[in-house]
């Protein structure tokens, strides 16, 4: 590796370095605040180092990685999201008894894994990134050991993720067997020679889809999502829903773009079925839930279905739509789980619908932020989610995926039903006879940190919803360099 290689990997190196520093600091003495500051600074530094790379069109580090506009945008997006999640985590863990410091090491590691994913151009780096991400997540999900459902969620994720990794590996092996290479570009040239995909290769792709589909929690690989979302601490749930899925989606897009998988009707058919099933199952099952974290879990299944619609469009506009929607979805999801984290007390997370009754009249600003996040998930104007959904619909209409587009519209309406239900609960009148004691507030400084984060998210949400031009310009500029 040369010095320029290192320069181009600077964000990842900074994160790795800070993981090591964090471990040493914990060895010297435990201090939550110092750990948090180290984490935040390293995320910021890693993000700042992206600025140095802004002019890089496409830089490959043979044979594993490629640094280009697409990868950098996704890395930047995930770093900022991780930063926001760490800010929410600080407030969340400060009021809990457990050992808090290792959480940040795991968070950093998981972020590294996700970042490796989006810049990988080889099965080896793909699998490495995925495993770094998954192994950190096993521990993160079960982090609050004393809660009963935490263990359950951790074990569930462990077993299923291990299974899916095995599927992915086996799929890679089959692809390797039939093409003789593990590089994306190599596979592309190899299968360009086939007039029809050989069965072995198709099986390989199918198994890889199982592995990837599990990480994305699309139907029929979604079973783990509600339980894990429910059992994991709220900030970790936010992380699974955003950074983990974003990274996997990033590598999926890169792989398909390199291989031009959109040419193969079989693969497209599989993804179309998966997308429709995810939208329908996610939204319909969400209707039955009374637990806000489970509702958001099912809603995220549905949202991945929406994202697949734009993904299936398969052209540059589709990729841009996916990216834009991911930004909106990241902001919204982190915001929603941020509110849950903020309302949670030491005993349990605020996850029952009852916890939100009449919230609007007790804590108007928190409720307003949550309402904005839910409306954005539902795709109502003035929020980023609306522009994102519009973009996806536009991409779908442009490539004339009428079935998918109509399913999306139909599902938006179903989705609206349960988002609005949460909003309605928040706006209900407090019952006069049961005197509601306001939930205990956090210490003022911590409270301010959470409120600050949520305010930033809400402002960002509205800003992108009202003035999406800026973000569009960035996405179009960066992605044009990467996508043929």
């Amino acid at each position: 590796m040369t010095l320029t290689d290192f320069q181009h990997l600077m964000p990842l190196l900074i994160l790795t370095f800070s993981v090591l520093v964090s471990m040493l600091v914990i060895a010297v003495g435990r201090n939550h605040k110092i750990m948090y500051v180290i984490t935040a600074i390293s995320f910021l530094a890693a993000f700042a180092s992206l600025y140095e790379l802004r002019d890089v069109a496409r830089y490959t580090i043979e044979p594993l990685l490629v640094v280009d506009g697409f990868g950098m945008f996704y890395i930047g997006m995930m770093l900022l999201t991780a930063l926001l999640i760490s800010m929410l985590s600080y407030a969340y863990f400060e009021q809990r008894e457990e050992r808090k410091e290792e959480f940040y090491i795991l968070l950093l590691l998981a972020t590294i894994g996700a970042c490796v994913l989006v810049i990988s151009k080889h099965f080896a780096s793909l699998f490495l990134g995925l495993e770094i991400l998954s192994v950190s997540l096993y521990a993160l999900i079960a982090y609050l050991r004393k809660r009963e459902r935490s263990d359950e969620a951790g074990i569930k994720y462990l077993i299923l993720a291990a299974f899916s990794s095995a599927f992915l590996l086996f799929g890679m092996a089959l692809v390797y067997a039939s093409t003789g290479t593990m590089e994306f570009a190599g596979i592309a040239t190899a299968i360009a020679g086939f007039t029809e995909l050989p069965l072995l290769l198709l099986t390989g792709f199918g198994m890889m889809i199982v592995g990837i589909g599990f990480k994305l929690s699309v139907v029929p690989f979604h079973m783990w999502a509600p339980d894990v979302y429910e059992g994991a601490p709220a900030p970790v749930t936010a992380f699974i829903a955003t950074v983990s899925k974003g990274g996997v989606l990033g590598v999926l897009i890169r792989f398909f773009m390199e291989v031009d998988g959109f040419r193969y009707p079989t693969l497209m058919l599989i993804f179309t079925i998966v997308a429709i099933a995810s939208m329908l199952a996610g939204n319909l099952l969400a209707l039955l839930q009374r637990n806000v974290k489970r509702i958001l879990a099912y809603s995220s299944i549905a949202h991945l279905g929406y994202l697949l619609v734009a993904f299936l469009a398969g052209n540059q506009m589709g990729v841009q739509a996916v990216t834009f929607y991911l930004v909106a979805y990241f902001i919204t999801t982190v915001g929603a789980f941020g509110v849950i984290a903020m309302l949670s007390d030491t005993e349990r997370d605020a996850e029952q619908l009852e916890d939100y009754r009449a919230l609007f009249w007790q804590r108007p600003w928190t409720a307003a932020v949550f309402t904005a996040m839910l409306l954005s998930l539902a795709g109502i104007p003035l929020t980023a989610g609306f522009v994102g959904k519009f973009y996806i619909l536009a991409a779908g209409v442009n490539t004339q995926l009428w079935l998918l587009v109509i399913m999306l519209a139909l599902n938006s309406v179903i989705g609206l039903f349960y988002y609005i239900r949460i909003v309605a609960v928040m706006f209900q009148q407090p019952e006069a006879d049961t005197a509601i004691q306001p939930r205990g507030r956090l210490r003022p400084s911590i409270y301010l940190a959470s409120v600050g984060t949520l305010t930033v998210l809400a402002l960002l949400l509205v800003y992108i919803g009202v003035y999406p031009s800026g973000l569009l310009q960035i996405i179009q500029g960066l992605i044009a360099t990467a996508v043929p």
Partner: protein
């Protein structure tokens, strides 16, 4: 720029009203009143300072500012006579809504006025925007505050009603969005210019099949909003459960956005597809007229009754829109205004009664004429308006609509006229049940106070003005109606686009005879109403 100010003042006023609720309980009311008065004044000034018939173009003011240039979306507003009339109605009813809420709304006053002003802002946007993306944007913006108005301050079954309203309108709106996107890409592929600009999209040439599908997308949104039977089932719930101000805005304004959408977008964008669909649309209109009237007669809940009369009256709108001639469209515009006033007034009276009696059940009412003569007189005026008594605005509207639709389809017009008779029956029943018969209450019923008279008198004046001297309104609407009908008034230039079906043949025949100016001269009910023929 003044057009932007209309929206900005309402939105800023809403936020200010919400914040000021922390300072003083009465302040939000005054802020809301002030902002609506300001925009009303501005619009009125526009109306008075622009003698419309002199202008060459239908457009009075335009405003354009790129918004998302990558997608060809701009913040494009434009005002013509039609929008101007709609805005005047919006702000007039907005003003009344603030006033009637003065005593009725006592909880969460600040948030109520925030929502009220934002609904008005959304409606203003819908009436002004000439960019289809922006149109959809405002179309949705007005939903959320309306949902809150019904869901928080409504009557006993408010959450169900709010839900139903929201889902119906949202679902139909999404279909419209798909149609907008389809139009956008078809236009883009044809010309290479991807834009949501209404004026450019007007020049899109569509294959008949595509035009039909896209038209149904737009129709979905507008017919649900209007509402046309069988898509009306959200309306009785939403109207009867909303607080008085909410009912007034729903009936007076939100329904009009559907009619406005038909006039502004469906007619000019899809000239061939609409002609094909016209007989069915008119049939739906007639069904709506008769069905609404029958159900109105059988209601016991006063607000529900008035809601069903809306279904009936909106049937005239769709009947007129799909007659494609100037008289019918003038009638539609008049109907939009007069229905906004008369139904709004009936909801206000229902609100007055509810405040006093805490019931909307007309079985429990009766004999109020002796106790509350002022209220009785006001109610009588609007009940008469609703049944279409000459001299009051609704008569002009319904008469013009029927004259226009007669030229398009005789039989359906005959049935629509039967609806007028039925209107008489249900309207008289309102008076009979509430104000006559024996007095059943133990307590006395206070008559209207000064504030309530302040609300009622302007409405009476307006409905009389519309009935006795509608000329200024007709003149204001005339140029823009011509504009919307451009593609229909010269059917001979594109005869190949009309499929040769008997009903369409009849329509062509009609428009040919209409083109003879001499015949028009003798048939014109209003000498000043110029029908320019090419």
């Amino acid at each position: 720029m003044i057009l932007v100010w209309l929206i900005v003042i309402l939105m800023a006023g809403g936020v200010l009203a919400w914040i000021s609720g922390k300072v003083n309980r009465a302040l939000p009311r005054w802020i809301a009143l002030g902002s609506v008065l300001a925009v009303f004044g501005m619009t009125l000034y526009q109306w008075l300072s622009n003698p419309i018939p002199v202008l060459d173009s239908a457009w009075l003011i335009q405003f354009n500012q790129p918004w998302i240039p990558q997608w060809g979306i701009s913040f494009r507003l434009a005002l013509d006579g039609l929008s101007l009339l709609m805005l005047l109605l919006t702000f007039f009813l907005g003003l009344l809504s603030v006033l009637i809420s003065w005593r009725e709304i006592q909880t969460k006053v600040a948030f109520f006025h925030f929502n009220l002003l934002w609904v008005l802002a959304g409606i203003t946007g819908v009436f002004l925007t000439m960019d289809l993306f922006l149109f959809y944007f405002f179309w949705e913006v007005m939903l959320i505050p309306m949902y809150f108005l019904i869901g928080i301050w409504g009557h006993e079954n408010r959450r169900y009603a709010a839900f139903k309203f929201f889902l119906f309108t949202q679902a139909s709106g999404l279909l419209m969005l798909l149609a907008i996107l389809g139009l956008y890409f078809i236009h883009g592929n044809q010309t290479g210019v991807y834009t949501f600009n209404y004026f450019e999209l007007l020049n899109t040439t569509l294959a008949p099949e595509a035009a039909r599908l896209l038209m149904f997308g737009f129709l979905a949104a507008f017919l649900v909003k209007l509402p046309v039977v069988p898509f009306h089932s959200w309306l009785p719930d939403a109207h009867s459960q909303a607080p008085t101000a909410g009912s007034v805005i729903l009936a007076g304004l939100l329904l009009k956005t559907g009619a406005y959408g038909l006039l502004r977008f469906v007619l000019p964008l899809f000239p061939t597809a609409t002609v094909e669909f016209a007989p069915w649309a008119m049939l739906l209109g007639v069904i709506g007229i008769i069905y609404g009237a029958m159900l109105a007669f059988s209601q016991t809940d006063l607000k529900r009754l008035v809601a069903y009369t809306s279904v009936s009256h909106m049937g005239f709108v769709i009947l007129g829109v799909f007659a494609f001639n100037e008289w019918a469209l003038q009638g539609v515009v008049m109907q939009m205004i007069t229905h906004g006033l008369s139904t709004g007034a009936l909801f206000i009276i229902a609100g007055f009664l509810y405040e006093r009696l805490h019931t909307r059940d007309i079985q429990k009412m009766g004999g109020f004429w002796t106790m509350a003569p002022k209220m009785g007189v006001i109610a009588l005026v609007f009940v008469m308006a609703s049944l279409g008594l000459p001299g009051l605005g609704n008569f002009i509207a319904e008469f013009l609509t029927l004259v226009g639709s007669w030229q398009a389809n005789n039989w359906l017009t005959v049935f629509a006229t039967i609806g007028l008779v039925m209107a008489t029956i249900y309207s008289l029943r309102i008076m009979q049940k509430i104000f006559f018969e024996g007095y059943k209450l133990e307590v006395s019923l206070p008559d209207l106070n000064a504030r309530e008279m302040l609300i009622a008198i302007p409405m009476v004046v307006m409905i009389l003005w519309l009935g006795l001297y509608p000329q200024p309104f007709l003149e204001t609407a005339h140029p823009s109606i011509q504009e919307q009908l451009q593609t229909y008034t010269k059917p001979t230039s594109k005869p190949e686009e009309l499929p040769l079906k008997p009903e369409n043949m009849a329509h062509i025949e009609e428009s040919k005879t209409e083109a003879s100016p001499a015949k028009l001269e003798e048939a014109k009910p209003f000498p000043n109403l110029q029908i320019k023929t090419p």
